[in-house]
Symmetry: C2
Subunit: 361 residues, 2 copies
């Protein structure tokens, strides 16, 4: 497969020959061999399909996790996942759907690919002599229907794993109390090699310190920085030299199996960004809803509160919804009109999202 034909006229230089030779050498196997066999010195690669399945229940953004018995103590949460098997899966996404169906008994609706991670060591499990795994992360959006009885999965708030991302009641406690001092300590360390961007500056931008604004979309950047600084358990588990002893004490969020927390971070960042320019928020909503329920769902995802009147102006003005004609009683006050998603917007020019910015309540 990866055998590359020399360009017309044959090989032109030693370097070129080397390049082609190298191509073969580092390839696990060559397409002409009918029955695969692993050559000495090469490593096979497995492809893991991982799903961050997100929903919102009761104003809480939740993710579907599978609880596993860890090797020694306690349980570890993980995302539904399984290997890509080209013989059984026509596409990567269909493979993912198959796995999710098997593991969680759930038929996925909306799903999109997030990112493919291949870092050596980031897929480790304690005591696990694992081969090389490339993880493909997916984001799926769904609703939690009461009828949904899941076999092994549980819905858990994503802020469980990322407490510092929860800005619904203002700046989260844990940031000030625990993370800021540790981050500053890490930032003030001498680095052996000079960095293009100082640790100081990176911490400032990622965590909105010293006057920098908090960017709710930088979820992955924050997680990766914490990993690099050795402040979260996964860093210690993967054997990062930088892993601190104090990473264990008041731990920062609940860790996950393999690199699943990284995938979840990617997922959160992606939803937060995406609902602003694509109408994916409606994947999380029931057929009929009030505008305030919609707003609460957006807020659950984004964190900060939105200006109510402007929110409805925006949503109605963009033609994202249409009234069903019904009203919902017992809202605690005046009854609220019910709306439904206008599917037609998907066929209109830029298929807009909920272009919101944080504002006053």
């Amino acid at each position: 497969m990866f055998r590359v034909k020399p360009p017309a006229g044959g090989l032109h230089s030693l370097e070129e020959a080397m390049a082609y030779g190298q191509l073969r050498e580092s390839t696990a196997r060559v397409s002409s061999e009918p029955e695969p066999s692993i050559e000495a010195g090469t490593a096979p690669v497995e492809i893991g399909l991982n799903a961050a399945i997100v929903a919102v229940t009761g104003n809480e953004p939740v993710v579907l996790v599978i609880r596993h018995e860890a090797d020694s103590a306690g349980a570890t949460d993980g995302l539904p996942f399984g290997p890509f098997s080209p013989l059984q899966h026509r596409t990567l996404e269909s493979g993912l759907r198959a796995w999710v169906h098997r593991q969680a008994g759930l038929e996925l609706g909306y799903a999109e690919q997030l990112y493919t991670f291949g870092d050596r060591g980031r897929h480790a499990q304690p005591g696990d002599l694992s081969p090389h795994v490339v993880s493909i992360g997916y984001l799926a959006l769904t609703q939690v229907k009461p009828s949904m009885e899941m076999q092994h999965g549980v819905w858990r708030s994503w802020y469980h794993y990322f407490p510092w991302e929860d800005w619904r009641r203002g700046r989260p406690e844990i940031l000030e109390a625990t993370m800021e001092p540790r981050l500053r300590e890490w930032a003030s360390e001498r680095t052996s090699v000079p960095q293009p961007v100082s640790r100081q500056e990176r911490v400032r931008i990622c965590f909105g310190l010293d006057g920098a604004a908090w960017d709710e979309e930088k979820v992955l950047e924050r997680y990766e920085l914490l990993y690099e600084a050795g402040l979260i358990e996964e860093a210690a588990r993967d054997g990062r030299d930088a892993a601190r002893q104090w990473s264990q004490r008041p731990r920062l969020g609940v860790p996950m199996q393999y690199d699943h927390r990284r995938i979840l971070a990617t997922a959160i960042g992606r939803v937060r960004a995406k609902i602003k320019y694509r109408p994916v928020i409606f994947e999380l909503m029931p057929d009929d809803f009030t505008l305030f329920e919609l707003q609460r769902t957006v807020e659950a995802i984004l964190g900060p509160h939105l200006h109510k009147q402007n929110f409805r102006r925006l949503v109605e003005g963009a033609g994202l919804v249409e009234p069903t004609g019904d009203v919902k009683m017992r809202t605690g006050g005046r009854p609220a009109k019910l709306y439904r998603f206008r599917r037609e917007v998907l066929m209109e020019r830029p298929a807009p999202g909920v272009r919101v910015k944080p504002g006053k309540v």
Copy 2:
């Protein structure tokens, strides 16, 4: 690796046991085996790293391609690529950089992952009994420096491969003349299974027919639709039943090796989207430039022309650039002030891009 521990309390149902069994069955190997061996009935997967390296020279958006001698007739263009080898590459991206360096003698600067494609059959080459390949596409942005002497690569306009994407001189000829009738014919065919969105509607949205607006970011959607409709050579090559005989005649753009044209389509769509919200356009610019040169570069990427005065207001107003103090003579008119990219914006809140919309010249 993919062996999943049963949840606490053991297996709870037959279905669960099946699921775990299934997990193992479709896995190439299990982590407890120290020396890997491929079990019968499983298929190994190779991971291909592919780079769409984009630059702009003389108002032409170009991509770095490697020309290969095809199996029978003519030459085929391909992107620089090679397999991911976990023993040699610490990360996917470093593997990509290594391959590009080897194949094109080029040190990559800015690079970002695009997408991972795994469709069966889309990686075929005529007469190639290939194993299953999962392609990871990357987008890299660079400048074409005169000193750059490449071994085997050539820079080619990306509109070479996607003539229908070239709107710099208005709606491209080929759309009206060749594509529209073929697309309409395909859209009017009966489909065996009812579609959630009609072919009619998809064609209308993708290609801006019947009053729909042309969305310059839907590059991949258009390419995939053409593939599905059997209107491009790759479809015939991959043996799609739908491939038409007339896909050969006045062919639609130059085809590429494997699924490289799909990767390039993804890349074009991504740059077009990204320059609007991240300052990546400067990766394509020399250190000093005039605002009009910057505008021309943006236009080369996006297609349509921009309103000159508003463009400069936007770029200056967003603090993306600062004057160097020098001027460029011989512009054909009044000398133009030279500017440079203000790197500091990368450290400012949302690190904006060139939020432009097509306008009057």
